[in-house]
Amino acid sequence: MKTNLNPPNVFKIILAVLFLFLISSLFELQIIKGNYYHQIAERNFVRLNRIPATRGEIYDRNYKPVVINIPSLNLYLTPAKIKNVKSLMQFLQFNYGIDPAEVDSLVYNNRFRSYQDILIAENTDYDTMMRVSEDLNYYPSLNFKVETTRQYLIPNHFTGYVGRINADEYSRVKEEGYSINSSIGKTGLEKYYEVLLHGKDGNEIIQVDATGKSLNLFKNNLVQQPENGLSLVLTMDSDLQKYASSVFPGGVNGAIAVIDVKTGGILAYSSKPDFDQNMMMTKINKDDWNRISNDPNKPMLDRVIHGVYPPGSVFKALTASIGLERGVITQYSLDRPCTGGLMIGNRFFRCWSRAGHGSLSVEDALRVSCDVFFYDLSLKLNLDDFQKFVFANHLAQRTGIDLPNERQGLFPNTAWYKKHYGKYTGIIGPKVNLSIGQGEIQVSPLQICAYYAALANNGKWIRPHLLDRAIGNKTILYRDLNQKLVTQLPVSANTLRIIHEGLYKVVNAPGGTGGAARVEGADVYGKTGSAENHVGSPTHAWFVGYYVTDTPQIAVCVFMENAGHGGSSAAPIAGQIMRYYHDHIENNKTKMVAEK
């Protein structure tokens, strides 16, 4: 007994036991239950099926729909079921205009996933569907699925659009449960809030049984329900948005931004010309694509945050405030009289009024938009300090709006000039130009609008944003997602008071440049601008201002490329928008309060 239990014998016994166990399990599996499993296998019976989550929709502040989901008929191809590749290629080319080479490469690329469906075409229209369905018997590899697609109810630049996931995006997000057929936000809010909108796809195991019998192979948990995406409620007001878009004159490129002064919420956001994003929802044909992408007016450019321009005279409010803050001027100082220009060094800087304005206080300098006043002021400023001040007012700085790829703009300092124009370049000339918002300075319309909203809001700058809240199985407020929304502009109450006074005179005093923006029954403050850009072409027209009833309500910025003077082109449009707001929204508010 003792001798038999030496280690090699024990090993042999253990080996024999283990293999007996394996062979008997195998016997049970393959011979006793072999038929059963054979049947299951023949019926090709278990499939892991993805249940796509419904993407969140987008609504305006009054829950009016902006982006919705609509059903879409999509054509899928299962490569393993292809009978005749050549005839399939012809069929697809005839009905959908798909290049045979494309089908060939799709089948080749998916040869090791041959039982996975590949998306071939989206949003099949009714006629094509009828035509294709008749022949579907001959092409068992093709099948239609009813899925959803996006419909964009307002042409705009902020919602962006979704598209099929590409290889780069897929490798980035596949851990988060995306599939090769998922769609993903490509631009705008759809991209920025992808995490909220997308939700999480579910899975189910479906049993494809010829007799419809359940084989109960799985204990439970057969279905993982999808988690639908959250819907976005925007701060935007779609009536105001539509109105703002409609009053913008045709044939002019430009941008409109309207911000709620008290919350920083964007009420209207329009860039012209615009394009229909729904075009991106089907396989866009080459002609349409070329037409849109080669259009010299660049309809796909979002001029509100992706376009940066010299602000011209609307910048003078900032120059005035740094003058007051640094003590270079006071409310009452009447410096050098304007005689239609100023000789600095050996260069003559012109005022826009050849006749000159005479001696002006800062308020009147804003009112008539006198250039010489600000030239003179800028001579007493340090450029690097100037740049810091500009940045502290969030100009030539990203606002941090909830949209992707916002542009920063530019405000140079001494080092920048040395780097670009050589070590010995003078900076006095450029500085004089910068003081009236000309030269190298570039800002986006949104930055200007947010700055004036902050002026209206007693110097409290609030980060402009489109999202109010995300709703669905939970509610997320915009302020939960972001910290540090509010900063104080570096200006004193006194300075603000003087600037307010000046901006009031621009619109309301005789001789003010912005009279066209006046609104009956409320006060409008603002500033016009006519920014030179290219020699020979008309100036960019700017008007930015805010509308005040008992308290400041909204800030409006109208920017028009090469449209002439701010006072005559942009100010009337801003006036119309404010009047619309006054009649439809502000009055409704007071009515509602009265009813209560």
Binding site: F11, K12, L22, Q30, I31, A41, A80, S114, N221, Q224
Partner: protein, 406 residues
């Protein structure tokens, strides 16, 4: 081919060759997909064929190297393998764990090398004559603990179990009484039985009976019983203290069908594939379940399902038989070898190969939990193949050089 010595174990060698050939064939089938009437073949099979040729050349050199050289190399190789295990932890994860080095298309798993190096190192350390049982066990544990600790961080639970099993086999070969080995595993049994009071009482009584029978001192018996009872008492509390998802993870590991969309999916698919093979199988390249790609990665961990589906019970039994004869031959070698160090090493090698084969096939037919352990000699993978073959090569070399140093 390699030598004319009568000590060369031709049977073992031929069995190894048969296994390697079967592996290349199975991989050829596993990497082939049929669409319509066309076959698409991935390049795994010829890579594996190249590995096989490379492995045979390596074995040839192994048999030629003087034994003294190998003996000198054991300690540096052990230290080197520890270093690679440390380095691999700082590399980016592949499939969620730090297990692989990647050179172009070659993946190298340092824990494979560590298995062989650790076995040889343990054998070397515990084979010195006149060593007490306690001292043998202590040294064996220490040498094994280092790589095991590093591998558990990766994390790779399956491989650490392989280390423990081969350590126990080496203790057995080092003539440590079985009762001590029982004592070593008793806490694990206590944890398992602690959830069922009846089983636990039976287990403890059995333990006491065996300890008395093997004449352990009363102090020793008391300590062992107290420790086991203590462990079984605190286990339920630890279990309650775990978060639900941690509990689920452990439960799913033990019973993958609880998670039919995750781990259970593979097991169920493997069972369907193997079961549907029935007696004779569906024929080479004709496995329907394989062609539909229900199982991901069936050229590696689930290669047995391809064999089971295409060659049926007959084919898989033949494979099992070849494995059995092969391992039987290794256990015979344990008896034949008289040099203590080599005997112990052979026992370790045999145990680790047997365990991996058992676990992998068991996982494919759904009788043991899923672990990422490939099927030795059959699954695709260069480093795995090389190390397993080198391990067998070491045994063959021991047998070859028998008689010179009695």
């Amino acid at each position: 081919m390699f030598t004319k010595s009568k000590n060369f174990d031709w049977t073992l060698f031929v069995l190894l060759l048969i296994l390697l050939m079967m592996g290349v064939f199975a991989i050829y089938s596993a990497s082939t997909t049929k669409i319509g009437d066309t076959y698409n073949v991935k390049n795994f099979w010829w890579k594996q064929a190249i590995f096989v040729i490379f492995v045979l050349l390596t074995l040839y050199f192994l048999f030629r190297i003087p034994f003294a050289v190998i003996d000198l190399l054991i300690v540096p190789a052990y230290i080197f393998s520890l270093l690679t295990l440390v380095v691999v932890l700082f590399l980016p994860t592949i499939n969620g764990s730090h297990r692989w080095f990647q050179f172009g298309f070659l993946h190298f798993q340092p824990s494979e090398m560590a298995k062989l190096c650790t076995i040889l190192m343990v054998a070397k350390i515990i084979s010195k004559p006149y060593m007490g049982e306690l001292s043998i066990m202590l040294r064996g544990f220490l040498v094994t603990l280092l790589p095991v600790a590093l591998i558990i961080i990766e994390p790779d639970f399956g491989t650490t179990v392989v280390f423990c099993i081969s350590l126990l086999a080496m203790f057995a070969a080092a003539d440590i009484p079985f009762i001590y080995i029982l004592l070593i595993v008793s806490p694990i049994l206590s944890i398992i039985t602690s959830f069922y009071l009846l089983y636990f009482i039976i287990f403890i009584l059995l333990l006491i009976y065996l300890l008395i029978k093997y004449r352990l001192s009363w102090v020793g018996i008391s300590i062992a019983v107290v420790i086991n009872v203590f462990i079984s008492l605190i286990t339920p509390f630890i279990w309650q203290g775990l978060k639900t998802y941690q509990q689920n993870r452990i439960l799913t590991f033990l019973d993958p069908t609880l998670d039919p969309l995750g781990a259970g999916y593979q097991i169920i698919q493997a069972k369907i594939a193997i079961g549907s093979g029935s007696i004779l199988g569906k024929g080479f390249l004709l496995g329907t379940q394989k062609n539909m790609n229900f199982l991901p990665e069936h050229h590696t961990d689930f290669i047995f399902s391809v064999i089971g589906e295409e060659f049926g019970f007959v084919g898989s039994s033949i494979l099992l038989l070849v494995f059995f004869m092969f391992l039987w031959r290794l256990s015979l070698a344990v008896g034949k070898l008289n040099v203590r160090e080599r005997k112990i090493a052979t026992a370790g090698i045999m145990a680790y190969l047997s365990f991996q084969i058992f676990i992998n096939i068991g996982m494919n037919i759904g009788v043991v939990p899923t672990t990422g352990i490939p099927l030795p000699f059959i699954s695709y993978g260069g480093s795995n193949l090389l190390i397993n073959s080198l391990a067998v090569g070491m045994v063959m070399k021991y047998l070859l050089e028998r008689g010179f140093m009695k």
